[in-house]
Structure formats: C-alpha cells, structure tokens
C-alpha cells in the first residue's frame, strides 16, 4: 500500500535536554487506521505534535503526501486534522461558532451544511448554540473531534480519544472512525490499551522511551501476543498435580492454592473445556476463577526480549 506519511530519522530533544524521540522511522499507509500504543511519556504526543507543526523537530524529516512538513507546511497542514489529548477549547464561544472558526483557520470557505452534518454525526446538533464551557467533558471531546473534522482533512490524528469517555460514546466513536476510514481518511490514534488498539486498528505501532519497538498488522501482533491466563482458586491446597494429569501449560502456584493455565485466545481449541472436565474427573474443586490478558508491561517484556534474542 501507498505510504501517505513518511517519517525518517526523526529525533526530538526538548530544551530541558530530555530526549523524547530517538531516530524514529515510520511509514503510515494511505487509508489505514494506525494505533500508537505506549505508556505515559513514551513520546506519542511529541510525535504527533511534530507532524502537526506544534513542536519543531530536532533532526530528521517528515513528509506528508510527498510534501515536507516544514518547507511545504501549508500543503501538509491543510490535509491534517488534530484532536489533542487535553480538552482545550475557547471557553465562551458557541459550538457552532467554534466550528466555523476551525474551518476558516484551515482556509476553507464557510459551509454551514457541512458543519451541520458533522455536528449531527457527533450528536451535538442540539448543542450547537451552547457555549462550550457549559458542556460535559465527553461533549467537549466530541467538539474537539468536530473541530478537527471541520476542514475535511485527509488525515486525522486522535491523541487518546477515549480518555474520559464512557462506553456508549466510545462505541459511537469507533463507528465514526470506521465511517471516516470508509470515506478515505487515514487515521492515527494513540492509546494506552492494547484492547483498544486491537478493536479498531489495522496496524499497531508500539512506542516506548521515544523508540518504535514494533510496528505490525494488528492480527499478526495479536497472534504473537494473544496469550491469556486462566487462574483457578482451589478449595483445598494441592500438594502436586496428579501424575497422569498431562495437560500442557498448566502450573500450580507455589502455595498450591491456585492452578494457572496459559492459553492462546486465537487458537480454535483453547483447551479450557478439556481442562475443566479433567479437573472434575479428578475431584479437584475450585472456588473462583479469573482470566488475565497480557498487560502492556508483559508485552514490552516479550517484545524487548524478542528483539534482543
């Protein structure tokens, strides 16, 4: 697929001397949804801010549709819409006014119809005359999305779009993002949660300490990382597993009060049914059960481990 944004050898050292990005190389494909996954302080916002022109890079280049983001900033910025991480808006202006403003800033002729369409899509139409400071946090987040879309961008950056957003709104947001993708918009979003990346993204880039550790198709990544653990709390302490209990990936905890079974969620047969029926055959009873997905930390350990081996 064609690359729409190509980032090469991009580094950023802040005035404080802190190195936020180290030689980042990344190609973002036209029409994809890319999730940038990484813990706090990884450099996600810095990366996005450079592409959008809010932060000057220390070295390296970024091209958007073949145009350099500094030399040809008018062309590149006109293509990009940004939804920032923080809820930052003009306080007193009405929702509709602020949308008109955003569209104009990007040099587009006014189009009340288009703005109406966006506000309706974001369920904000009935709030169009409300001052922004009278909206709830989730509504403000939607206003920010609306502002970013007001100039019909080809590329949309969403910096942690789900922070402070309830389940319902999150679902709507994913629907909207998929719709935008269908309309040909390339979408880059950041998140702290692997589940979110899995749900929405075509590809996932994992970033840590200013470096892109891995960039991969979501399905491929999930296959590699899709390990889950089933934890069974036992009724009675188990001295050892019965000798003929030949189930792979099953371990007893050190205190003998838990059985831990590791399985792959993407396998046709996870082996859970077999495990549970064997347990009841043997009369091993359990009080409670729990499952645990690999956390972001586990993933880093796995990935960094793999990289080094």
């Amino acid at each position: 697929m064609q690359s729409l944004i190509s980032i090469s050898d991009l580094s950023k050292t802040y005035a404080s001397g802190f190195v936020a990005l180290k030689n980042v190389n990344l190609d973002i494909r036209k029409g994809e949804i890319l999730a940038l996954l990484g813990p706090n302080g990884a450099g996600k916002t810095t990366l996005i801010s450079i592409i959008c022109g809010l932060v000057n890079p220390t070295s390296g280049t970024v091209r958007v549709d073949g145009h350099d983001i500094i030399k040809d900033f008018r062309k590149t910025r006109a293509m990009i819409g940004l939804v920032p991480q923080e809820l930052t808006t003009e306080v007193f202006a009405s929702v509709f006014t602020t949308m008109v403003y955003s569209r104009g800033l990007f040099g587009k002729k006014p189009s009340p119809q288009y703005i109406e369409k966006i506000l309706r899509a974001l369920s904000l139409w009935d709030k169009k005359d409300s001052p922004i400071n009278e909206l709830s946090g989730g509504m403000k987040r939607r206003v920010l999305i609306g502002k970013a879309l007001a100039h019909e961008p080809k590329i949309l950056f969403l910096d942690e779009p789900t922070a402070g957003v309830d389940v319902e709104l999150r679902k709507d947001m994913w629907t909207l993002i998929r719709q935008l993708q269908t309309d040909g918009v390339t979408i880059i979003l950041t998140t702290h949660y692997i589940e979110e990346a899995e749900e929405i993204a075509d590809r996932v880039g994992i970033i840590n300490h200013g470096e892109i550790i891995v960039i991969e198709e979501t399905s491929e990544l999930m296959r590699k990382l899709g390990k889950k653990q089933l934890i069974l709390e036992l009724h009675k302490k188990l001295e050892s597993l019965p000798a003929d209990f030949d189930i792979p990936n099953l371990e007893a905890s050190a205190d003998g009060m838990q059985l831990i079974y590791t399985y792959d969620i993407h396998m046709d047969r996870t082996g859970i049914t077999a495990l549970l029926s064997r347990l009841s055959e043997k009369g091993i009873r359990f009080r409670d059960l729990d499952t645990k997905q690999s956390s972001l930390e586990d993933i880093f350990v796995t990935l960094v481990g793999n990289n080094q081996s």
């Binding site: 959008c52 932060v55 930052t88 202006a93 403003y101 990007f106």
Partner: protein
C-alpha cells in the same frame, strides 16, 4: 495568503469584544468621564488656559491617547495570551498559517477595537467640552498608527507573559506612568528645565504632542519628530514580531 483564516481570527476576536462589551467599552468611557469631571470641570476651572486653550479641551487628546495606549496593549496582549493560557492556541499553530497571518488577525482586531474606542471617547469628550479638530486627517493618522503600533507591542507582551501577573505588569507599570508623565495633562513647558529634559526621553510625549497638534496646532515637539518616533516604535515592534516568528519564542518547543 490564507485570507479565510485571517478573517475568522479577526471575527472571532471582535466577537469577544461584543461579548465583553461592558468591560471593553463602557468601563473606558466611564473612566474618561471621571477624568473630565475631576480634571476638566473641578480642577480645570481653576487652571488658566494652556497655550491659549481651555484646560478641559487641552487634556482631550492626552486622555484619548491614554485610553488608546492602555487599551491597545491590554486588548492585544490578552487576545493572544488567552488561547495560550487555555491551550486553544494549538489549533492556530496547526493550521496552514504563517506567523504573519496570525499577527494580522490578532493585532488587526485589537487595533480596530482600540481605534473604535478612541472614536467613542472623542465623542464622549465632546459632550463635556467643546473643541475643534484642526487637522482631522492627521488626527486619524496618529490614531491609527498609534493603535496599530501599541497593539503590536501588546501582542508581544501577550506572547512573553506566561502568567496573569506578567500580563498586567507592563500596562500597569510602564504604559500608565509614561502616559501620565508624557504631558497628557500638562504642557512640558510648565515643568522645570531639568524635568523637561527627562521628559524628552519618554516616547509617549511624542505621541501625545503630535496628537494634540492635530487638534489645536500646538505641540511640545515638532510634528515631524512625533511621526518619526511613532514609526521608529512601529519598526521596533515589527522587528520583535519577526524575531518571535523566527525563533518560535515561547510558542513552539
């Protein structure tokens, strides 16, 4: 040029003035009226005319300048400081806009406001005292040039300030004293020679003097010098803006 953007920034800023109509228009009118009552009517009635002009009329140009300077600076400073403070500036910075266009929008709006206000105060003054304007065209030139220059200056202050104290510091500690000591309420000929010389270092003197000349054809310094000083200050501010643009000072990391 992204004219659409300049237009929306300008409109958005003007809209803010309507929203805060009371603060931005009525309070300057009120304070000017108070000056007229205190200086013009109460004290002025005991002061003989200066250079053949009744005292109440004499202070009109100075009062307009006082308002024009403080309003230009505070309007422009606040206009850019506020989005910086709320973070909403991100949108302007991520738009396909050069710094020049950003300045045109913000400074254009601030200058418009303060010039309009100058006209409003002129009209208010006319209710209290009668005066003639000898050179209306020059009066407008001084009004517009000063409004633009000091709005640029205010814009720079708004960029520089990173808290509310700093934002108020310059208008309060620099502009107001300089205007009071710059011959707004007196002719410098009334001062002892030493203080006359000191006053010549006050740039506001030249603005007030030139502006007053356009009303009454009397001036503390020659009109040519007044105009040159405004131009010099305008160039300094433009240079400052250019430098901010060049270095991204306090707006880009």
């Amino acid at each position: 040029m992204n004219f659409q953007a300049i237009k929306v920034i300008y409109q958005f800023e003007m809209l803010r003035m309507w929203r805060t109509l009371f603060q931005s228009v009525f309070s300057p009118i009120l304070s000017t009226s108070l000056y007229f009552i205190v200086f013009g009517a109460a004290i002025g009635s005991r002061i003989q005319s200066i250079d053949g002009i009744a005292y109440a009329a004499f202070i009109v140009p100075g009062l307009i300048m006082l308002m024009l300077l403080t309003q230009s600076v505070t309007n422009a400073a606040f206009g850019i400081f506020f989005p910086k403070f709320t973070g909403a500036i991100y949108e302007v910075l991520s738009a396909p806009l050069s710094f020049f266009e950003i300045v045109l929008g913000y400074v254009g709006a601030a200058a418009t406001k303060s010039i309009l206000l100058g006209v409003v105060i002129l009209t208010t003054a006319r209710l209290f005292v009668s005066f003639e304007i000898a050179h209306p065209m020059w009066m407008i030139v001084f009004l517009v040039l000063t409004g633009i220059t000091f709005s640029l200056f205010g814009f720079l202050i708004g960029i520089w300030a990173d808290n509310f104290e700093k934002l108020q510091l310059v208008p309060l500690l620099v502009i107001t004293p300089l205007t009071f000591l710059g011959g707004s309420f007196y002719s410098i000929n009334m001062l002892p020679p030493f203080w006359q010389t000191v006053t010549l270092f006050n740039p506001v003197l030249y603005l007030v003097s030139g502006f007053r000349w356009s009303f009454y054809e009397v001036a503390d310094v020659s009109v040519g010098i007044s105009l040159s000083v405004i131009f010099l200050f305008l160039c300094l501010c433009l240079f400052g803006v250019w430098w901010v643009f060049k270095t991204g000072y306090k707006i880009k990391t």
